[in-house]
Amino acid sequence: MRNSPLFGTRALVDQFKVAMQTVVPPNTLNRIDIPSWPEGDPTYDARMAWGVGDSSLELAIRVALTSDIPLARAEDVRLGPARIPVVIAPYLSSTQRQKATELGWSYWDATGNMQIRHANPLVFIEREGAARNPNASSEPRGLSSLKGRGAARVVEYLLTYPNRGAARDIAREAGVGVGTASRVISLLRYENFLVETGGPGVRIDDREALAHRLVQDYSFVRSNRAKRYYSNLGRDGALLALQRNGVRHAVTGLRAAADVYATWERPMALPSTDLWLYVTDVKEAERVASLVPDARGGDILVAEAPWLESGNYLAANPPRAYPWRVAFDLMSQPGRHAAVGDDMVKELVARTSTS
């Protein structure tokens, strides 16, 4: 059995079996056999034959007691036509459930969240359980969302360096307090995004899911108190003025994305119409770049970034935020921005995993 050293595997499979016995209408055949525990199978912990209606299926079960959710597409793991891959866990967050679905896995958790699917014969069972992890003892104190600037910095660091660091190191590198870093890490651990390394550090396996989780709470505009302006100098003139006057700034948004795509030799078809900027000193930026507040139609979005220090952004011309920051800033806004951000995340993951 893949998971045999972990206490609770058999108990969870038993709970799942009980839950499966309640999902079929009365007077319909619903026979679930005793689970078998395949030795040496790297993907599944248990298998159960499932006779439902006129069909004979097999539930191939992967138990996720920690954050060990399936990362491979289900069709890539040599399934038979009658086999349904199911990931089961004490609790699966909405992001994890969505991810499992995207990868072709059915799922169940002990709070009652369930989706069992099969194409032929057609099976579709869906139940709703808890929206939050009911295990209160591991509930992180003082942080229930990732909407703050500090949280975004920590997540940016974890996305950029997925295999590094304890809270203290992350805090130092990300330019946030140790308390902030610890609370963010606790929340991410609670939501099963972190893989324990056995040492003091943590590891992120699914950066795409983490980026999506961040933007459930984070917004480039709200989290960074970004305001809209236009510049009497035009967008390029504003950038030039910031540079000439030594105001620390970094470009993000579509304009920064275009630069990143250019380095990937994938030019963006449409130019950006807005300029998104992080600056350390908004008042100074307003003065030197001749910025005029224009909440309705301004084409320059200026965000406060007290964390913007040398090493936290790319000293290019113009200076720009690091790609993961650019990606989730875009994802946090609607329409074309979100689509480009999403694409960037996929590309960033692909590039890192193949390099």
Binding site: Y230, N232, G234, D236, D294, D299
Partner: protein, 269 residues
Amino acid sequence: MTAAAPEYVLARRALLDVLDVLEAHQESLVLVGAQAVYLHAPGDFGVPAYTTDGDLTIDPDVLAYAPDIDTMLRNADYFAGQNPGAWTSPSGVHIDLLVAAGVASGPGRRSASLAGHGLPTARRTPGLEVALVDNSVMTLRALDPSDERVRDLKVAGPAALTIAKLAKLRERLDLGKEDRVLPKDAGDLLRMLRACDARAIGNQLSVLAAQPAIDAVIAPLIRWSAADVGARESQLARLAVLAAQGTEPDRQVDGSLRALISTLVEAFR
């Protein structure tokens, strides 16, 4: 940066061509017009960089008596247009040879007499006087990568170009012929003020105005532009908005041009 428009590439090539032809007189030539603006203000300033011609002003005090520019151009297959100083290159690009009205001699209303040179050679043009005192040598390169020519040439400074654009716009607006007023000139003016610091341009004009002959050109244009952008309906702002159409919201362009000219005027006083 976006690639230059093909017309602009052609115009730069034609400018280098005419400079080759007029090499003997290069010391007397100062580049003015849009190509000079783009040398000082490259990049995207909300208004597209686009021109189809080349404008050179001639300093009559420096111009040698010979060889005759008229003959040189005709021998190189340039055609003289109906207007004095309006030449067409063999590749079909317009080259304007201009003389600042304040230094032009001769009885003609439009043509400028240049001793030793044929009469239609150059056109007298108001507002170019400042370019004769506010210029610096810059390196002019072809925009076509296959053309490796490089030439050092006097180029009018931002202050001179601002006055030249204001003079041209005022002259045409005063004529009341809407079809002769080019929004592009207002767009170039906005580009110049955005890229080259309106306050610095105002300060430079203030220094240049210490010469009475130059002040006589600058001061009326500054007063006119201040009145225009202070009015509810600004002609300059309206034209700049037309020039930037589709690239920037109208309200921003209107507000920018008014604010930048006000800054320039404030610095000039």
